[in-house]
Amino acid sequence: MTKQHANWSPYDNNGGTCVAIAGSDYCVIAADTRMSTGYSILSRDYSKIHKLADRAVLSSSGFQADVKALQKVLKSRHLIYQHQHNKQMSCPAMAQLLSNTLYFKRFFPYYAFNVLGGLDEEGKGCVFTYDAVGSYERVGYGAQGSGSTLIMPFLDNQLKSPSPLLLPKQDSNTPLSEAEAVDLVKTVFASATERDIYTGDKLEIMILKADGIKTELMDLRKD
C-alpha cells in the first residue's frame, strides 16, 4: 500500500515579519501580530516582540515553539546575569549571547529569525540581524521573517546605509528622526501586508530611548 500520511516534521513556519531601525538616540522595533500555520491563521493577536532587558528588545518570527523556547533561555540567562553583575545586560552583550544560544543548537536549530534592537553603551540605537544558526551582524536597519523579501530592498532604497566595506568604518545608523522612522515602519508593514499572506492583522511598534520604552499599535489588513 502507498504511504497515506505526510512525514512528520518537528518544524512549522508560523510566519510573521520583524523590522528594526536604529537612529542616533533611539531604536524602533516592530512586528505584526499574525500567527499562521500553512494557509490557516491560528491567532490574529500574538506578539512577536519580547523585551529582554531595559535596552534590548528581541523580535522573532519562524517556528513559534522554538521562538518561545529561545525567549525562555535568554530570559533565564539574563536573570542570572543580573544576579552576578547587578545590572541589566547591554544590547551588544545580548546580541553575542543570542548568537551563542542559536549556535549551541547548530545541528538541531531553533527555527527562529531574529532582529535584536536596542541602545548600545553610548546610548546610540543598535540593530542586530541573525540567521537561524547564529550568524549575526550589527546594522542600521534590518528585516526578518516572511515579509523580509518585500521590505528589505525598500529599506535599502530609502535608507541608503553606507557600505560596510568603507574604511574607516562608517556609522550605519539612519539619519531619520524618530517620527520619520516610525512612519517608515508603518508604511513598509502596510505594503508587505498587501502581498505577504503571513503578515497582517496588527502591527506592534516599540520605540526604545534612553528614558524608556513606548509601545504603539496599528491595524493592518486582516485578509
Binding site: D12, N13, N14
Partner: protein, 246 residues
Amino acid sequence: MTTFSVPIDNGDSMKIAEEESQRTLYPYVTGTSIVAIKYKDGVLMASDMGGSYGSTLRYKNIERVKAIGKHSLLGASGEISDFQEILRYLDELTLNDNMWDDGNSLGPKEIHNYLTRVMYNRRNKFNPLWNTLVLGGVKNGKSYLGMVSMIGVSFEDDHVATGFGNHLARPILRDEWHADLSFEDGVKLLEKCMRVLLYRDRSAINKLQIAKITEEGVTVSQPYSLKTYWEFSSFHNPTAGAAGSW
C-alpha cells in the same frame, strides 16, 4: 520543509528497533475538532464523542473533554491513547500539587504552560504526543483559554478550535463572538459551530458534550444530539449548478 531521519544509534540493534517502535509516526484512533470559547462567566468547550480508526468510526462514546484540578478544563483532538496518557501525567501533577496541602493550586495558565513544555519536549525527542490540546479555565475571576499543538506551538485567544474547527468554526466565532456572551448564547454559538462541523467534517458524529467551567467549578454535559436538517435541495442534488464533465 526539511524532514529528519531518526538518529542512528551505534549500539545494540535490538534497542534501536525497540525505540523506534515507541515513536508515534502516525496516529491510530483519533478524535476530531474541539471548539471552545470564553463567555461572561468562564469558558465553554464542545467536542463530539467519536473515535476514528482511519476512516472507520471505531468508538462512539469517547470523552475528549476532562476537568483538570479545580480550575481547568482540557479538550483534545488527535490520538486518543496519547490524550489518555496526558491525563495520567496531569493526574500525577495535580495529585502532587494537592499533597502540599498549602491551599495553593495550579491554575489554567500553569497547566497550559506545563502541557506546552511536555508537547515541546516530546517533539524535541522526535517522539510526539499526537494531539492538539485546548485548555480552558477560570481562576481568581479571570478566564483563560489557550491551545497547544503536537510540536509545541501554543497561544491564548478568546475562542479557539482545532483541526477542521479552525477552518469551519472560527470564521463563525470571529463574526458572532463577543466577551459578554451569556451561557445560553454561548451554548447556542457552539452548537451552531458543531452543526456546521457535523455537516461538513466526515469524522464528526452527532453525539456531543459541552463542558462549562466557571469560578464555581466544572460541569460536563450528558451526551446529546443536535437537530439536523438534510432536506436542503443542494444536499439532494449536490452537483446541480456545478459545471462538470458528467
